[in-house]
Subunit: 133 residues, 2 copies
DNA sequence: ACTGATTTGGTGTATATACCCGCTTATGAT
DNA sequence: ATCATAAGCGGGTATATACACCAAATCAGT
């Protein structure tokens, strides 16, 4: 892949390519790395509102709402009203838990492969970018 | 922004955030950093086919075709048939050249700000990722 | 020259993402 | 209790991106 002068495009291209690798690794699950990551978030946070999910992932609420809806249609997440009738509370389904369990070793392998290819130096740099922004 | 264990999501999030900064910087032009970058590619390569653009940018042909179509509607790019009647040749319009000229200092400023915030170390790491993949 | 394989694009479909607007529900100040 | 304000969501619209499939054009081997 050609390296451009533009740091932004280089980042985008790197994210695109790395995403394709993770997506391929998770292919047996029928979900993408973005969806896998969202499932894990819900697993971690327990019943959680869309707004809260958006806050912790730093995504637009509408983005989260749409992504959750897809996972709901797949039977991996469930939505219900909370005490506050405005809030949509999101929870993991049994099937969602199963997919997470099945996916864990796939994700691990891909993650390890990436660490191998990039080296700890660059891996650390990626994390640093987020904190430096 | 929270740092995740998943290197892929960290890269995606970094790309999302950095893109937002570049997009904001180019906002006076009415185009995004992805579009700006594509315009520059066409400027560099001169009349170029969609397939060739896809190859050099490592994007799917259909993605390029759609992105070019948008820039064509904005009057910044023009499409025409080549000697090979299958090929669509893409060229920069006068207006496209104007936008590139107007955008150059905006891009420069944003690029410099990013270099400042991230430091040359991390900037180099980003470029390295692409070559390491 | 003909025919089968390849190349080039376009379209349909899908995910990921953001912004804006409008509706519903909760909260807080009087 | 009332009413203005704020919070939470959904839907519309838009860009960026990929994959699969189809049609047209070209090319290569006979």
């Amino acid at each position: 892949m050609i390296v451009l002068p533009c740091h932004c495009m280089n980042l985008r291209n790197a994210a695109r390519k790395v995403s394709a690798l993770y997506d391929a690794a998770l292919e047996p699950l029928g979900i993408t790395i973005a969806q896998f990551s969202l499932l894990r978030r819900v697993e971690r946070l327990g019943p959680v509102s869309l707004t809260e999910l958006g806050r912790v992932t730093d995504h637009d609420r509408s983005t989260i709402g749409r992504n959750v809806r897809l996972l709901e249609k797949m039977g991996l997440l469930a939505q219900g009203k909370g005490k506050d009738q405005r809030e949509t509370m999101v929870t993991l389904t049994a099937e969602g838990r199963r997919v997470l369990a099945e996916g864990a070793p796939l994700w691990d392998a891909c993650q390890a492969r990436i660490e191998d290819r990039l080296g700890l130096e660059r891996i650390a740099a990626i994390a640093d970018i987020l904190t430096a922004l």
